[in-house]
Each structure stands twice: as C-alpha cells, then as structure tokens.
C-alpha cells in the first residue's frame, strides 16, 4: 500500500511530459513501475506527482538503424518484448539474454528497458549490458530537442543518471557487434528472480584468434556499474589463452569494491567477481568462434 498521496497525469506527448516534470519538484516518471511502485510502497521516496508516459505513442519500437550499425530500442519496450524479439535475438543476442534473466515473467511483461536503465540500480542487469556494449541514450527535453549521452556518462551513481530535471530517456541505441564478436552475460543471485548480487557482461571481438577489443562490465561492486579497463587492456591485441582470462578476472576482482549486504559478505562477493568474470570471458571466447 502506498501511503503518501500524489497527483497522476498521463500526457500524450514527450514534450508535454517533460514540461510537467519541469514544473514539479518531486515528480517522477512512471513507465512499467516494477521498481518505482515497490519503492513507493516502502515509503523510501517523496513523490508528489507521477507522470505516466505509457500513453505517449511510438516509444516501444525495436528496430535496426538505417545504416544497419545499431539496434534502437524505444524506452517503453517491455523486457518481454525485447527478450522475445526476433530482431534482437538475431543481431544482439546478448541483450535478449540479459532481458530474459530479469526477475520473472510477471515482472518482464510489465517492466520496461528505459525504466530499468533510468532507475540506475548499481547491479541493474541492463545497466551492465548497455555499459559493456557502449550503448547511447537519446534524451528528450521540454523544448522538444534531443541530446545523446553515452552509457559511460549516463550512469553516475546509485539511482543517479545524467538525466536532468524535465528530461526523459526516449530510446537506447546499441551498436551491433561485428562478426567474430563473442558476448556473454553471467550473474549471481541467491534464488531465481532475486535481485542480482554480481552481474557481468562481456563483449570480446576476436580476429584470427587475436582479441581486437574487449569490454568487461560489472554490476554490484561499486556505487554504479563499472568497466574494468585494466583487464580489457590486458586482453587487447593478444592471442588469448586461458591464463590471460584468469588474469583478467583477477584484475576484475581487485578493482571491485562491493559492500556486504544482509545475505552475503563483501569478501564473498569479491571472490565471486573473479569466478563470474572468468566464466563470462571463457563463454565469450567460445562464442566468438561460433559466429
């Protein structure tokens, strides 16, 4: 039960929604509500106005850009939409894999990709994968202009993004990895559908057994999702052997600063970072040979 009263509006255009957000100090965007409504029930946040953006048309499309280089997903596409999309499965299976691991079907039928990314949980599955893929966020503003922010700059801290007052995430653009790229997604949860403790997403581009580029993103180990550039640099330009993967995973462990929570200790999480990063890297190398 939500205790504090709030106003509700459901505008029909992005500009109108931005304007309402601009006018109210404690206004919040309501998309699928799968994170926001539970938070409101816990009374953890002061919200006086909810702006439901689901009546705004054309915000849930999933398509490949004209130059065939990116996959563009509207902010209101649900996790289930993305997970089941044939286009996504074909051009960016890593995203479909990430989506299918979120919560359970009742959540995925309602929760949206834009909502998850804007919620900016430090162990958010989609935050990790969009960081690994160097996604870019298109943000709508009240003067009807747009600005684009890279994933690297978008996630700024726990529940804190680059979104300013009166701005709405409109769509996310994921670069489509070229052939020879192996991607993998791994996460540690205590039970099926539980909040993830550690989330790992890796993208390895291989050419003639040599690693041309590497992206290793981790969630749950800091106040925001992080990239382990030191481990990425280690792999880049190399013919990758099993011990290199282990070394990269060790670096990831070293760079992780997880906090203990009610279930597990910080030490345990740190150790698990190595296990899950290594697992993901091995899978990615294997997959790069398949495509």
């Amino acid at each position: 039960m939500i205790l504090k009263p709030f106003e509700y509006s459901s505008p029909h255009s992005l500009q109108e929604a931005c304007k309402i957000l601009e006018r109210h100090d404690d206004a919040k965007i309501l998309a699928g509500g799968q994170s926001l409504l539970p938070i409101m029930k816990l009374n953890l946040t002061e919200i006086t106005h909810l702006v439901d953006i689901k009546k705004i048309p054309n915000l849930s499309s999933i398509e490949v850009s004209n130059d065939q280089k990116s996959l563009i997903v509207g902010a209101l596409a649900t996790h289930a939409d993305v997970e089941r999309s044939d286009i996504v499965k074909k051009v960016l299976p890593l995203l479909a894999e990430t989506e299918s691991s979120i919560g359970h079907p009742l959540v995925r039928n309602r929760g949206t990709i834009g909502g998850s990314i804007s919620h900016c949980d430090p162990s958010g599955d989609l935050c990790v994968t969009s960081l690994a893929l160097d996604a870019s966020m298109t943000i709508a503003r009240s003067d009807n202009s747009r600005r684009v922010v890279s994933a690297k700059d978008f996630f700024q801290g726990t529940f804190t993004t680059a979104l300013k007052k009166g701005e709405i995430l409109e769509k996310i653009s994921f670069p489509i990895p070229p052939r020879g790229t192996g991607c993998a997604f791994e996460k540690l949860t205590l039970g099926h559908g539980d909040f993830p403790l550690i989330v790992v997403s890796v993208v390895l581009r291989m050419e003639n057994a040599k690693c041309v580029s590497a992206a290793i993103a981790i969630g749950g180990v800091s106040d925001r999702v992080i990239r382990v550039t030191r481990a990425e640099d280690l792999l880049k330009g190399k013919v990758v052997h099993a011990e290199d993967l282990e070394r990269a995973a060790t670096i990831a462990e070293e760079e992780s600063k997880p906090e203990a929570d009610i279930d597990v200790s910080a030490e345990y999480k740190k150790k698990m970072v190595k296990v899950f990063v290594q697992r993901a890297l091995e899978k990615a190398v294997e997959r790069s040979n398949e495509v």
């Binding site: 709030f6 079907p105 309602r110």
Partner: protein, 166 residues
C-alpha cells in the same frame, strides 16, 4: 495532504467499468475491494509471490504492482473471466484433473501465468524448463509445482495438436 481521486474506465472480464479510485490504489485493491473480484489474492504485495496475477491486454502481470489509474482504456481479465458459459477453460480443467493445488491460494495466479504463457506459444510445444521459467514468478507454499507443470504441459500438447488439425 488530500488524497487524489480520479475516474478510470477499463474493461474487466469483458465488460466496461468506470470506477473512482485514489491515485494510490493498486489495481489489485480496486479489483478486490471495489469490483468484488476476489480471485486475485494479496500475498506479498510486492511482485514476489504472483498470487495477484491478472491478464492486462493478454499478458500476465502482478496487479499489486500496477496502479488502478494506469488501467484507463485497457483490458483486464481475472481468473473469474476465464470460464465461458459456466464451463471451465482448458487450463482450469487441467489444474483440476491433475490435482495441481492443495490450499488454492496461489492457484488463480498460477492459472493466469499459465494462460499468458500458453497463449504466447504459437503452436509450439514447450519443454519442462520453459514451463518452469514461465511460472517462476508464482510461489506455491504447498509445493504443488510438479502437478502444475504437468497440467500446463498437457494443455500445451492439446492446443498444439488442435492447431495442427485446423
């Protein structure tokens, strides 16, 4: 602060309803308390147990984590809306025949999730893992899981067979 009341019109089990709701009301509370549809149950009230599942525009969701005001213009189906002409739907019958419940508290949610899953199969026969994943948001404290999976598998097989006959 004053509460905010709004009128919302949506379809419930085929008929159009207009209800005055507080913006804070969940769909679950309005279904149960204003519309007397007590099939959806309030278990955890935080998207964990699935007892409150209903179909919104054909997809199973947790009605505890959706505001009633969000349903404007949408189509909601609860367990009460699955049977036709006093005849149980195939999935309800299968739950009965397979004895897929003990106390019954989670059953309406289990059936709603099953229905949403079965409708999305497009004639495909799912494996056991897929069925378990599809129902992973519905907890059953009695542990009727095996029989629930059996019921869903049977309906999936029958509907695929019927699809091929047509």
């Amino acid at each position: 602060m004053m509460s905010n009341l709004l009128k919302v019109t949506f379809k419930v089990n085929g008929s159009s309803k207009t209800v005055e709701v507080d913006t804070r009301d969940s769909l679950l509370d309005v279904l149960r308390d204003s519309l007397n549809l007590t099939g959806p149950k309030k278990g955890c009230d935080e998207t964990v147990c699935g007892a409150c599942a209903v179909l919104v525009n054909g997809k199973a969701i947790c009605s505890c984590t959706m505001l009633a005001v969000e349903t404007e213009g949408l189509e909601v189906v609860t367990i009460e809306g699955l049977s036709e002409n006093n005849e149980l739907s195939p999935i309800q019958k299968a739950f009965w025949m397979h004895d897929s419940l003990q106390c019954g508290f989670c059953t309406s949610g289990q059936i709603i999730s099953s229905k949403s899953f079965l409708d999305g199969l497009d004639g495909r026969i799912p494996n056991e893992e897929e069925i378990k994943e599809a129902l992973s948001g519905n907890l059953c404290r009695c542990g009727a899981y095996n029989k629930i999976v059996e019921a869903v598998a049977e309906v999936a097989a029958i509907q695929t067979h019927k699809g091929k006959m047509n």
